[in-house]
């Protein structure tokens, strides 16, 4: 089914209690409720406060370096031989990924709320680095929870966070990855609600997080829309972005949501292949459930226990997904597909070799699907891919897979 997404429908997405159709909501213990209500009340005031918006815009321009370019990947386009591929260069942001758009916004919220301490969860470490960065700048104490397994595979980012003055706490419970880091951050928050602001890194979690993270990340799509009109004189035919929790995808998609002729593709981590069960693709192969404060598609077993996931990329290694994506899937507005570890790795090498741009392994999933898609489209059509982060952090992983020891 397809819903016509007019302004009126969209104004109520999410509704007052944070529901995107049947998804989203605020499924948390009572111990967190007062903090969420406080955050929501402040955010609703600040999002229409010109002083707050001016400060946010100024930081994005002067500190992050926005707008990020929309780059015509001419060589990749020629290699594929189909639609024109444009890359939205979020990898050129300060700290090297789209994550900073959101941490700038949430750190400003923390400042306005008078909270001296911030906490964050991180998978690949990009959100942790982006949080530690804004904390350093604003003089806030910063604690980052990171699965013990991810601490190992993202040693470089762990060290970056430490240099920035953050405390990185390895999480050894459960599957020792992103979902467990999020559990631990939530536990910290309940214990330290009075002085602590929790900077969630993606469009998931309890209301109002999916909405506010989407709002902060929407700068990506707003810029891309204008830039595409400028360069091509029309809107793109398709948007492609990788989806773990889904913040870079939501940021790109949202400003195009009423443009029915713009197709949207969210690319999940297909791991060893969706049919093997060893993946992180809840929209492609999961079912609805409740985790981390929201109802959404999850990877769970028959008994409702959350399953361990697999992806080459730590940033996509998450068993859930933002509730707005779940809703966009159900109403048929966006398409969700998967790219395997192998396809992502191949895309990583291809983009590096033909464009001289080394993408993050997360973003490589989007590149992989965009190449597939472009080949099936006409030469006068246009695809915008969100190049959500740069690949420097993944050099060790790629080297290991190629059998090269860098240590």
């Amino acid at each position: 089914m397809t819903a016509r997404l007019d302004a009126e429908t969209l104004a109520n997405i999410p509704d007052k209690r944070g529901h995107f159709g049947p998804y989203g909501g605020r499924f948390v213990s009572e111990t967190l409720m007062s903090s969420l209500l406080e955050l929501e009340a402040h955010y609703e005031k600040l999002r229409i406060d010109p002083r707050f918006q001016d400060e946010f815009d100024r930081d994005l321009a002067d500190y992050v370096g926005r707008p990020s370019p929309l780059y015509f990947a001419e060589h990749l386009t020629r290699k594929v031989g189909g639609a024109k591929i444009y890359l939205k260069r979020e990898d050129l942001n300060h700290t090297g990924a789209h994550k900073v758009n959101n941490t700038i916004g949430q750190a400003l919220l923390a400042k306005y709320l008078g909270k001296p301490r911030i906490i964050a969860e991180t998978g690949a470490g990009q959100h942790g680095v982006a949080s530690a960065t804004v904390a350093a700048r604003l003089g806030l104490e910063c604690v980052v929870y990171m699965g013990a397994e991810d601490v190992q595979r993202q040693a470089l980012n762990v060290y970056r966070m430490k240099l920035l003055g953050a405390t990185v706490k390895p999480v050894t419970s459960g599957t020792r990855t992103l979902k467990d880091a999020m559990n631990e951050a939530l536990r910290d928050w309940v214990t330290n609600v009075d002085d602590t602001f929790y900077i969630i890194g993606t469009v998931a979690g309890p209301h109002p997080y999916p909405k506010l993270v989407r709002d902060f990340q929407s700068i990506i799509g707003r810029e891309a829309r204008l830039q595409c009109l400028e360069k091509e004189g029309r809107l793109p035919d398709a948007l492609v972005a990788c989806v773990g929790g889904g913040s870079n995808a939501m940021g790109l998609f949202y400003p195009f949501i009423e443009d029915e002729n713009v197709e949207m593709y969210g690319v999940e981590a297909g791991g060893l292949g969706v049919s093997t069960g060893r993946h992180a693709a809840p929209l492609c192969a999961g079912r609805p459930g409740v985790l981390h404060g929201n109802r959404t598609y999850l990877m769970e077993d028959d008994n409702g226990q959350i399953m361990s996931t697999h992806s080459i990329s730590a940033g996509l290694d998450y068993p859930g997904v933002g509730p707005e994506h779940a809703w966009l899937k159900d109403i048929g507005r966006a398409n969700y597909v998967a790219a395997t570890d192998e396809e992502a790795l191949e895309a990583f090498h291809t983009l590096t070799r033909v464009e001289g741009i080394m993408p993050a392994l997360e973003s490589s999933h989007a590149i992989a699907h965009a190449m597939k898609l472009a080949g099936e489209m006409d030469r006068d059509q246009v695809i915008v891919v969100n190049l959500s982060g740069r690949g420097d952090k993944d050099i060790h992983t790629v080297a290991n897979l190629d059998g090269i020891d860098l240590s």
Binding site: R17, T31, M33, P288, N303, G304, Q305, I306
Partner: protein
């Protein structure tokens, strides 16, 4: 009506508070749980909170997280937990049993199926940690129809407005979380608790159980002076974990902890 309200009423008339121990079902292994429940009753428990293990227990501290992990190693499912309650009911038709856990395993089974099975197994109440009143509008009437109590949490940060909402949705008793933190956190402050209970009692006649931070006979006795129910979780789960190797010492130590709490509370 479930067994909970008559149980609390009788205790209240006798001038006593309810002792409500929590154990995670399936910990240390699924075959141990029913026997542990009987030991709890023999040692002085009035109501049993039986934890349904979940892979991501966000509101729990390390002690109960590890209990969940141990139970899940043995594949303890919600269906297994319901079977344990049915087994317990064969020899104890009196002690109320409350299932405590997270929403996802219940939704995976299907809410309707769960309610039907819970009722048939002899469950009296259900406390779903991550289902606040505003998300429970549809569920609560179905619980009531089935004669199951929906038990909600209150926290030190809960506003009066939210207390009223929790009371309007819930029945049986209300669970007051005595401190800001996860289960197994540091000791509670009894003065804070009694002030908060006075505030809650100004808004409802529903019995109030207090949990989080009750570790021993002294803290149980102190809380029993102000609360209708004293809930002990991590201290008990820890005792089980420390004595998991020997069934005899495990039951002995459970009896000692719960027995000491009971006599301290009744003095």
């Amino acid at each position: 009506m479930s067994r909970i309200t008559p149980c609390l009423k009788a205790l209240n008339e006798a001038g006593k508070s309810a002792l409500i121990p929590y154990v995670t079902a399936g910990d240390p292994n699924p075959s141990a749980t029913v026997e542990i429940m009987h030991t709890l009753v023999k040692s002085g428990a009035d109501i049993i909170e039986l934890g349904v293990p979940f892979s991501d227990p966000m509101a729990d501290g390390p002690v109960i997280q590890l209990a969940c992990e141990r139970a899940l190693v043995h594949g303890t499912s919600l269906q297994n937990v319901l079977d344990m309650v049915a087994e317990f009911r064969k020899t104890d038709d009196k002690t109320p049993v409350v299932l405590m856990g997270y929403l996802n395993p219940v939704e995976a089974m299907g809410m309707e199926v769960f309610i039907e099975k819970a009722k048939a197994s002899g469950v009296d109440g259900v406390l779903t940690v991550d289902l606040p009143p505003e998300e429970a509008d549809d569920v609560v009437p179905r619980f009531k129809e089935a004669g199951l109590d929906a038990i909600f949490l209150l926290a030190p940060t809960t506003t009066n407005e939210r207390i009223k909402s929790a009371v309007a949705h819930g029945s049986g008793y209300i669970y007051y979380v005595s401190l800001k933190g996860v289960t197994g956190s540091s000791a509670l402050n009894i003065d804070d608790v009694s002030q908060q209970l006075a505030r809650i009692r100004g808004l409802t006649d529903m019995p109030v159980g207090v949990g989080f931070g009750i570790k021993d006979a002294d803290s149980a006795a102190a809380v029993s002076k102000v609360a209708d129910g004293v809930i002990v979780g991590s201290a008990l789960v820890n005792t089980i974990a420390e004595n998991a190797d020997s069934s005899e010492s495990m039951h002995g130590q459970i009896g000692k902890l719960i027995g000491a709490m009971r006599s301290a509370m009744d003095q």
